[in-house]
Assembly symmetry: C2
Homo-oligomer: 204 residues x 2
């Protein structure tokens, strides 16, 4: 006999337990919760997952998640288009926006350089960043990456790339080390993160 | 500007954060994880949730989750049909099956009596239990409910109901108090739970 008396339940538990941080026990709990809700509610949850993956777009400029080709941040003419804040992922954009301390644009790398995980610069949106800097009037690039080994490596790689050419170079800054070393950026509280943007220092 | 730059993301986060134990931060993490996976994988997760709620059936005898009108346990003629183990929910059936110490049938109440939550005996599968006992050759009813206030109340209610009539009465037993008082049944380890089935005592 199988673990569950229903293959529908078995399927749902298998699928849910693939999500990060969700084991089989939690997956079963979630599946049984879904069973107790309206069919309409279960449909709406399932469909939102399908629609999310199917319909999502990324801004062609900064690679942030967007409904449109150009995201609302890049399209906002009140923002300072001469400053680009380089972040690892979409969560980091949300975190920095919540501080209310940054009025420039973003560039989402989609990860950090990590040889162990086989992630080299080619897998990230680094070439497109260099292109933005080369083609537009960018005065400052803030490297807002996590103060981890991978984040530091990525920041240094980008610093070398952007200062290597003979063209007019933007100032490259990094976040103030107000953020605790070794922690992921997204877990930093808003005050500290806001402070670290104000205190940003030249990249050296 | 909204919290997210995409209403698809907003929707998915809202839906996911309705699940028990999943806050908005975790929901966002799950949504962004889903975005990084294949479209096929996201579809398969979403569809499994929709199918689960839509296609699920309950056994018409014991009310366990089932693919068929009669669940595999009730349909298994090798099991002892004279013994019914009464449990609160489907998770408890799975927990007891995993101990490998029980060969009878089940009866899933779908909850326990809880006046605070407005759950009276009418909301539970108690009448159908009394009917099974009245119409079939049932020699023993094991009340395998959590040793909590609500579980004890429900057990006592069923005990009174089943022993109140003038007909031939089954023996009513309860789980040995090997399970720690105040804990939910589903968190009990398999050895202790198996032991508590072997050590079951007459209900008094």
């Amino acid at each position: 006999m199988e673990e569950f008396s229903s293959t529908l339940l078995e399927n749902a538990v298998n699928e849910l337990s693939r999500l990060p941080g969700i084991g089989r026990k939690t997956a079963l709990r979630l599946a049984l919760y879904i069973l107790r809700r309206d069919e309409r509610e279960a449909n709406s949850l399932g469909q939102s997952i399908i629609d999310l993956r199917k319909g999502i777009k990324y801004c062609h400029i900064c690679h942030n998640i967007s409904e449109t080709d150009t995201c609302p941040i890049c399209a906002d003419t009140r923002r300072d288009s001469t400053t680009i804040c380089v972040v690892e992922n979409v969560r980091d954009v949300l975190s920095i926006e919540r501080t209310g301390r940054f009025t420039g644009l973003y560039h989402v790398l989609g990860g950090v350089i990590s040889p162990i995980d086989g992630i080299g610069p080619d897998r990230l949106e680094i070439a497109s960043l260099a292109q933005r800097v080369a083609e537009q009037d960018i005065r400052e690039v803030i490297l807002a990456l996590s103060p981890t080994m991978e984040g530091d490596t990525t920041a240094y790689y980008i610093y070398r790339l952007l200062t290597g050419s003979a063209d007019a170079k933007p100032t490259i800054t990094r976040l103030a080390r107000g953020v605790a070393v070794g922690n992921e950026l997204e877990y930093t509280d808003e005050l500290t993160l806001g402070r670290s943007i104000i205190d940003r220092r030249p990249f050296e």
